[in-house]
Symmetry: C2
Subunit: 168 residues, 2 copies
């Protein structure tokens, strides 16, 4: 055999100080992402993780997660909606919404009222407690939104909302 480190699989070395083939580099700081940078999905994923974590932390004192907040907001703005309508509007599976509403109803924030027009469906309403609570949630959500501004800049946040306005 030749002296050139076998490589029985017969491929060219990946053009980047691949070296001996068993030398782990740690650091994790100077690692190039190369092709990964330039992928919109990757950037969006990382940002979405950050933004959700900040939301969860900022609304941690009231124990409200982003999805719960969106449900409460939609019901608050459109009382009487059916579960199907809420699910469709928010892009949530109606099966998933069942559990979300179970939780929110247990916490006395939401009521399911049996509709008389369509006895299959429920008309969703905020309770009195739910409305006052939502006011507080909105205040905390606004605080979270300010964190976003502080992170990416007021101008950039506005641009972001404009660019993604088609997905709401």
């Amino acid at each position: 055999m030749t002296a050139t480190a076998s490589r029985a699989d017969g491929r060219h070395a990946p053009r980047k100080r691949a070296g001996n083939g068993a030398a782990p580099r740690d650091g994790a700081d100077d690692i190039g992402l190369d092709a990964l940078v330039g992928h919109a999905g990757y950037a969006v994923r990382r940002f979405q993780i950050w933004i959700f974590q900040d939301f969860i932390k900022t609304l941690g004192e009231v124990d409200i997660r982003p999805t719960q907040y969106s449900v409460l907001t939609v019901i608050g703005a459109n009382p009487g909606l059916s579960q199907m309508a809420v699910a469709k509007r928010l892009g949530i599976e109606r099966a998933r919404l069942v559990h979300l509403l179970d939780s929110l109803e247990q916490r006395k924030l939401v009521k399911r009222i049996k509709s008389k027009q369509d006895r299959r469906s429920h008309a969703l309403h905020l309770t009195a407690q739910g409305e006052t609570a939502l006011t507080k949630f909105k205040r905390l959500a606004a605080e979270h939104e300010r964190h976003v501004e502080a992170k990416i800049g007021k101008e950039n946040r506005a641009q972001l909302l404009r660019i993604l306005s088609g997905f709401t």
Copy 2:
């Protein structure tokens, strides 16, 4: 009971044709999101769902998901990294990376080579098969990226990448 649909909880109607209190509106088209619009997190979540679904579909023929793609890309660009380094760089739990690598190793795309410097860690490399496969994956990923451009516009995509460049 009176004719006014009880409302024993005694609250004012939430200012929007709440009406009888048990009238579900369907449609799901003309539902106002009100406060939800204007939340960066909501727009980003919806967009992220869309973009991932397109990625999964576009790379469906090769059965590669976004996270798998990111792992392959980083390893391909930085051969010899340890699992810890990859996990830290991509913001993945090292526990999660174990399963990801199990899968990729079964498919002969990645090799775990026991390091001689630090016998706790593994040096990660693409196999020959993995390198040629990654080339194809990148071509499909570029196609996916063109879908994104078609969806939000070339200019907006560039702006998005610029705004979120701090999260890569």
